[in-house]
């Protein structure tokens, strides 16, 4: 017998044990997935899951202006509310989040819409990765052929990541380990431990706090103060080359979904800072409002238009140029609740 054939079973055992080890490890990781995801909650995956698992009377959808600006508990009053707004979401992400997460339709859906939701040259990675199924990707690819391959890649990456638990929960595992080590060696990995504590706090807020994240009060969350110290941009490239095209079709899809699901849908035209709307990108907001008015007249859509003057919002109520802070969010949420109550909820 030559040496290589004699060694073969031993070599085979190494490969078999390696693959088996990886598989067992993945099973073990999957068994504790809630722990890992609480340590490193992804704003899309975690909030999407938390919303899908619950039963809600009122759900807020939209991008980051809605995430920071509309408190679902204020809107729901006695019922249960959840804020499913997602940072960086376009109308495409908003549609896919609502359609897949709200399998048990709530009584009322409030869409806090902003001009950035329609901005055509935005292509966000989290939609294909976390919110779309294969059919959604096909539709999305047809509408945006220039980004079809990119979307497919992101979708595939997201699916592959879900298939490998070690990779999927890698950040949570690292933070959990650092948190454990901190028990007997407090100064070992301070940055990772800080990340772990921050993750746990965010997960708790998203899980038990109904998804609403309000920038905490302080000088860093007050546009007034930021302007005084010269910390505010005078030019926002995010809104450059603003035009509306494909993302508008997703607004119609949201309306169709609400009709099909017999959900009461209210749009709130989210207030932004005066600097942004009047000085920096007035045309973008004019185009957006014209477009919204057209959809409103065509579909009989219900749009609430809170204004800064009407609500008494000043720079002190904004965290930055786009987002409200806690004070602004409280004022806007109460105003929206009152308007909905005043006008009476229409039955679809």
């Amino acid at each position: 017998m030559n040496p290589s054939s004699r060694n073969r079973p031993r070599w085979g055992r190494v490969v078999a044990c390696f693959l088996l080890g990886l598989a067992l490890l993945d099973l073990g990781i999957a068994a504790f997935r809630d722990t890992w995801s609480a340590y490193a909650p992804h704003p899309y995956a975690y909030r999407f899951d938390a919303c899908r698992r619950g039963r809600w009377d009122v759900v807020v959808i939209g991008g980051s202006p809605a995430l920071y600006g509309l408190d679902p508990q204020v809107l729901a009053e006695t019922g249960r509310g959840y804020n499913l707004a997602l940072p960086l979401a376009t109308t495409a992400e908003v549609y896919h989040a609502a359609r897949h997460a709200l399998q048990r339709p709530p009584r009322l859906v409030v869409y806090g819409i902003c001009a950035s939701d329609f901005k055509e040259d935005r292509v966000e990675p989290c939609g294909p990765e976390y919110l779309m199924d294969a059919a959604d990707v096909v539709v999305w690819g047809r509408q945006r052929p220039e980004a079809a391959v990119w979307g497919l890649r992101k979708f595939t990456e997201g699916r592959l990541e879900r298939a490998w638990q070690l990779f999927r929960y890698r950040h949570g595992i690292r933070r959990w380990a650092a948190d454990r080590v901190a028990g007997w060696w407090p100064d070992a990995f301070p940055e990772t431990v800080a990340e772990a504590r921050d993750g746990l706090a965010r997960a708790e807020a998203w899980r038990d706090g109904h998804g609403f994240v309000s920038p905490p009060p302080g000088p860093l969350t007050c546009l007034d103060t930021l302007k005084q110290c010269g910390c505010v941009q005078t030019h926002l490239s995010y809104f450059e080359n603003y035009h509306i095209a494909n993302y508008l079709s997703y607004l119609y899809r949201i309306l169709d979904w609400a009709e099909r699901s017999r959900v009461q849908l209210v749009l709130v035209d989210m207030p932004v800072s005066a600097d942004l709307e009047e000085k920096m990108v007035p045309r973008a907001f004019a185009d957006f409002r014209a477009c919204l008015a057209e959809v409103e007249s065509r579909r009989g859509l219900r749009v609430l238009r809170p204004t800064r003057a009407g609500l008494g919002l000043t720079d002190a109520d904004f965290a930055d140029l786009v987002h409200l802070n806690a004070a602004g969010a409280a004022r806007l949420s109460a105003w929206v609740r009152d308007r909905i109550a005043e006008e009476g909820e229409r039955t679809p």
Binding site: V14, G21, E157, H171, W185
Partner: protein
């Protein structure tokens, strides 16, 4: 496409599957050549002409050298190959250096030169594949191998993707015989391939990339940190560059095994070296042996008297430094190593054969001190190439020598000593037992568990942001 990138983990399985499904030598090797060129083009498709052109020149030179009727004619064709390879290397790698220094010199003597800047993009792996080309034509010239008849075979030898970008520098005598028939992949090669890929990736992704996050800021602003931080940064850089480069070589060796090819060993626990000469027999072995066989020996080696030997050593190492990078840091580093090698040779010749000296050098304590001393000399040399300014270099050298600033920030994250400890452990675990890797000797279950643990370290505990391999810039 980086070995530590997602793209590579899509590219590699596809190439492996197609290669092993194909039947026949021609089909397999042509496919592997196409894949290697594609790999090269994934960085910059326009530079494919560089590797094509040098391959054509070296291929033709090999045939012409063999067919030349006189030694003079053989020499002429050899010169064509050497000059074209070095010409390409000089044009791409040294133009900026030469022009910049020329302008500085002109300015220093008062000639008005105005505002001139020259920017040349360096084609990937040019330092490696040009040296492979030169070694081939030199071996044909010296009669060590026969010229390759098939251009496809020769082009694959030059462009074989696992070692194309950062070595090991493979000699034609080592590689071409393996190409006579497509080498069958043995079970041993499959598992050893897995071993070297996992080990190499762990070195790169877990150790080198983490250490880089500490080393980079300290060397960028050495004045902001204290002497203790400087010392840790130097040790960390020594560990980082070893793990980065030997990690790449390990992955290249592992991937080549999965195609049935054997590449030469490139690192042998260099920080266990007890002298600078031994260090260069353990560090970047394929380059140091190349320099010895094709440059040092061509310059006369040790055959022309002791003074000439020392000059040859210093010249070879200075050129070795210049090969690593077109800057005075590298030239100085090469010269420094040449002087150390010459000094070691002098000391070695003076002591060898004296009973008391042999007894002393055989003692374990002496060996330990020699390893420590060699490491400090090597580390001090590394400061020359890592520092971004001469002032910064001087500051760190002072700290390494035991002096240095005190009133500055001390910042040594816990992971730095842990990672350096891991590198030391690896050296001791395998190097002291004189085995290539101690993990290969473990029982199967323990080995597999080690690989699983390595995967966990890379995926869950790595820094998440992978840097390009350091040797890509060479």
């Amino acid at each position: 496409m980086n070995f530590a990138s997602r793209g590579f983990f899509i590219f590699l399985p596809i190439v492996l599957v197609v290669y092993h499904l194909l039947r026949g030598r021609e089909a397999k090797f042509r496919f592997l050549l196409a894949a290697s060129w594609l790999f090269y083009m994934s960085w910059n498709p326009w530079f494919i002409w560089v590797i094509l052109f040098t391959s054509v020149i070296d291929y033709a030179s090999g045939l012409l050298i063999e067919a030349a009727p006189t030694p003079r004619a053989k020499k002429r064709w050899l010169a064509l190959s050497v000059i074209s390879n070095l010409g390409f290397l000089a044009a791409f790698k040294y133009t900026e250096f030469i022009v910049g220094n020329g302008l500085a010199a002109a300015e220093a003597i008062g000639w008005p030169v105005g505002e001139w800047t020259v920017k040349v993009v360096l084609p990937l792996g040019i330092s490696f594949h040009t040296f492979q080309g030169i070694s081939y034509t030199l071996d044909v010239y010296r009669g060590k191998i026969k010229a390759v008849r098939s251009f496809g075979d020769f082009a694959l030898f030059v462009a074989f993707f696992p070692q194309l970008v950062a070595g090991p520098i493979v000699r034609a005598v080592e590689f071409l015989p393996q190409m006579e028939t497509p080498p069958p992949v043995t079970a041993t090669q499959v598992v050893e391939g897995l071993h070297w890929i996992v080990v190499g990736m762990t070195k790169k992704v877990f150790i080198a990339d983490w250490l880089a996050q500490f080393v980079d800021p300290v060397f960028a602003h050495p004045g902001a940190y204290d002497a203790v931080t400087h010392r840790w940064a130097v040790f960390a850089y020594a560990a980082q560059i070893y793990c980065d480069f030997s990690g790449y070589s390990d992955i290249a060796i592992g991937v080549a095994k999965w195609f049935g090819f054997e590449l030469p060993e490139n690192f042998r626990f260099p920080y266990l070296a007890g002298s600078i000469a031994e260090f260069w027999r353990r560090w970047h072995i394929s380059l140091s042996t190349w320099m010895r066989d094709y440059l040092y020996i061509s310059l006369g080696g040790s055959r022309r008297g002791s003074v000439r030997t020392y000059v040859n050593l210093i010249a070879t190492m200075t050129l070795c430094g210049l090969w690593h990078g077109a800057s005075w840091n590298y030239v100085l580093w090469g010269f420094y190593n040449g002087v150390l090698l010459a000094g070691h040779r002098l000391y070695d010749h003076a002591l060898t054969g004296r009973p008391w000296a042999d007894q002393m050098r055989g003692a374990l304590t002496f060996r330990f001190l020699a390893v420590l001393g060699t490491f400090f000399l090597v580390a001090s040399g590394l400061v020359l190439v890592r520092s971004q300014t001469w002032d910064g270099c001087w500051l760190v050298q002072q700290s390494l020598a035991g002096f240095g600033t005190v009133d500055a920030l001390r910042w040594v994250p816990t992971r730095v000593p842990l990672l350096i400890g891991l590198v030391v452990l690896g050296h001791l675990f395998s190097g002291l037992r004189d085995v290539r890797c101690g993990i290969l000797e473990l029982p199967p279950v323990l080995r597999a568990a080690t690989y699983v643990a390595s995967v966990v370290l890379m995926i869950a505990f790595g820094p998440g942001v992978s840097k390009a391999f350091i040797y890509f810039q060479f």
